[in-house]
């Protein structure tokens, strides 16, 4: 069983389109995250959610809108895609907010904006 699963694995789209990435965790964790990894492999936090509530929004453009229907799911919708959005997006989860515990990552979604 995959602990943190995200779909799709690859996403190729044109500039200006709107796309979504889905994430689900079956670990019973309270906290979920979206990270962006650029071409130089740098991992940057985008959003953190705890029990469906937004905790951290790291100055991400409002074209990015996360949604958490329940604590096991955190989806990411991106409007009006730009070339600079091309990256690998990772979903992650951790047991509890504020407990300094390790993150469990999904396998990533490679987004290519043409």
């Amino acid at each position: 069983d995959t602990a943190v699963s995200q779909t799709p694995k690859y996403l190729v789209t044109q500039m200006g389109n709107d796309k979504s990435i889905k994430c689900e965790q079956n670990l019973g964790h309270d906290t979920m995250y979206w990270y962006k990894q650029d071409s130089k492999k740098f991992l940057k936090i985008m959003f953190s959610y705890n029990n469906k509530e937004l905790i951290i929004n790291e100055t991400v453009p409002n074209r990015f809108s996360p949604k958490s229907p329940d604590k096991a799911h955190l989806n990411l919708h991106i409007n009006s895609l730009e070339l600079g959005d091309s990256a690998v997006y990772f979903c992650a989860s951790s047991p509890r907010w504020g407990a300094s515990e390790k993150l469990f990552f999904g396998s990533g979604t490679q987004l290519s904006v043409l």
Partner: protein
């Protein structure tokens, strides 16, 4: 944001040798540190962690050393194997789950 840096972006070692990957962090308030391994096409995988009340922690073939005085973290891999080839990240956290990642070191194991 936080600054978590690595001294070497790439590292090549012979199979069977020991590897040492270094990481510098800037926030003296950070109290939790993790090393992750990322293989090509996969997400980061947890290797080992250490809290600020410790200076050394050992796992299977891996050891993490923490020097809070100079804000330095290192990962030692014993008897490096080809399967250890990957990008290694250090991450620091403070006040809970706000993690900041370093830029990564690419480790290549030469058979």
């Amino acid at each position: 944001g936080e600054s978590v840096g690595l001294h070497l972006p790439t590292l090549s070692v012979q199979e069977g040798d020991n590897s040492i990957i270094n990481c510098a962090y800037s926030n003296s308030a950070s109290d939790y540190f993790i090393w992750y391994k990322q293989e090509s096409g996969k997400g980061p995988q947890f290797i080992i962690d250490i809290r600020s009340n410790m200076d050394k922690r050992q796992g299977q073939r891996v050891t993490v050393l923490l020097n809070k005085t100079v804000k330095h973290l290192s990962l030692q891999i014993a008897a490096t194997q080809p399967g250890d080839s990957a990008v290694y990240f250090c991450a620091e956290a403070n006040t809970g789950n706000q993690f900041y990642f370093g830029t990564g070191t690419s480790l290549t194991v030469i058979p």
